[in-house]
Symmetry: C2
Subunit: 213 residues, 2 copies
DNA sequence: CCCTTGCTAGTCAAACTTGACTACCTGCCC
DNA sequence: GGGCAGGTAGTCAAGTTTGACTAGCAAGGG
């Protein structure tokens, strides 16, 4: 998950250091909905460099104060992994909203037809899962047998239905021509240029209410 | 999270060993919707014993084959922590469905009035969060400024709305007298007695479709 | 001119999670 | 009467995540 985000960020820059990635993720709001803390980001970069998904350039000291920095570039192998993760994020329904969010942020790296196909597969995935849950909790003995435990299943089913509905909406928007996908001309700029100010910076605004811990 | 589940399971038994906890969690379906693998469970037990939330009895070898086992009991401090976690799980909206699921499974350890109060707070929490997100993504420049990134926010808002709707339903069911809460007589048996067969055992049925990894 | 604030860039230990693995015993089929 | 399938109970190393910490430099106030 973190790998998907990091690969996506590095890829858009062509070449990036950790702090830049960190900033992009904040720009996307990822610090609010994913577990993308500094530690995880740097760890992911190093790990992926070790595994050959990224190439690490030993690089000059910072131009703007601070310690020297290492720049990374996505290798061919890393690109493959990136698309694999991206496709999976859009397709699979594992009720982890952060994975889908990451996929949404990066889906325009695919072409429109493929994005649509993946989302259709996502729909089928949700339906299948719904069927599995309802089988499990409405056994022939009738419901209620589970007492309040049944609420858990009811919650899952409700989530699945709501997720399906939303996905349907998205498919329609994309089919209707929304957004700019790969190979459709001027792409949407999803990263900050060097020195550009982040209009959505949250500063030290506290995390969204309801967050505990 | 895992701590909440483990504390809840041990508490219901009064005294339990790791394997028993593992079985209860399967009974609740937790292996499907939470990251409660054996390793995590045993780790949590040991950790919490070290921290004084559980008391570990050094105990006799198994009665039914297998290595000897350690039994645990929740301490007073552990009970406090348990209720703290439980209240938090029901109240806070951090879009992690597994936390809520755990809370639902254990909510009957509270009394009805408190459960209702917590769920009302959950509703407010969701609304507040929704407000925060919509502020963030419909700035005065108008929407669309974010391009496809806006879809992420739209997804959050949709999830929040759907979560609120479901919570409202649950509140009504509980207010209407559903389920048996603490202090209301014969509690629902949420654990398996020794030797009882799990009617919902999944055997080696594979995890729900759509699960990747 | 110096000193505090704040941004840049990153490290690190401790905690947690994962998935595969071990070892023991029972029942039962042949 | 052997052996193997399957349940019981748990360990362990490798990997990941967390949250707090470090250290360098710039800008600006007094």
């Amino acid at each position: 998950m973190i790998r998907l985000l990091v690969l996506g960020a590095v890829r858009q820059h062509g070449r990036a250091h950790g702090y830049q990635v960190r900033n992009d993720l904040e720009y996307w709001g990822a610090h609010e909905w994913s577990n993308a803390k500094p530690g995880s980001i740097y760890h992911a970069l190093k790990q992926m460099a070790k595994q050959g998904l990224l190439h690490a350039h030993e690089v000059a000291p910072s131009t703007a104060g601070g310690p020297p920095r290492t720049e990374y570039e996505v290798t061919e192998q890393g690109t493959e992994e990136y698309f694999r993760l991206l496709r999976e994020a859009l397709t699979s329904y594992d009720q982890k909203p952060d994975v889908l969010s990451a996929g949404l942020g990066l889906m325009v790296d695919l072409d429109r037809a493929e994005a649509l196909a993946l989302l259709e597969r996502r729909m089928r995935s949700i339906e299948e899962w719904r069927r599995a849950v309802t089988e499990y909790y409405v056994p022939e003995d009738g419901p209620g047998q589970l007492g309040h435990i049944g609420e858990i299943m009811d919650f899952w089913v409700h989530s699945a239905d709501s997720g399906a509905e939303w996905t349907r909406g998205l498919i329609e928007r994309i089919r209707g021509g929304a957004y700019t996908f790969a190979g459709e001309g001027e792409p949407f700029v999803g990263v900050l240029a060097d020195g550009e100010e982040n209009p959505f910076a949250t500063g030290d605004r506290e995390p969204h209410p309801g967050d505990a811990h």
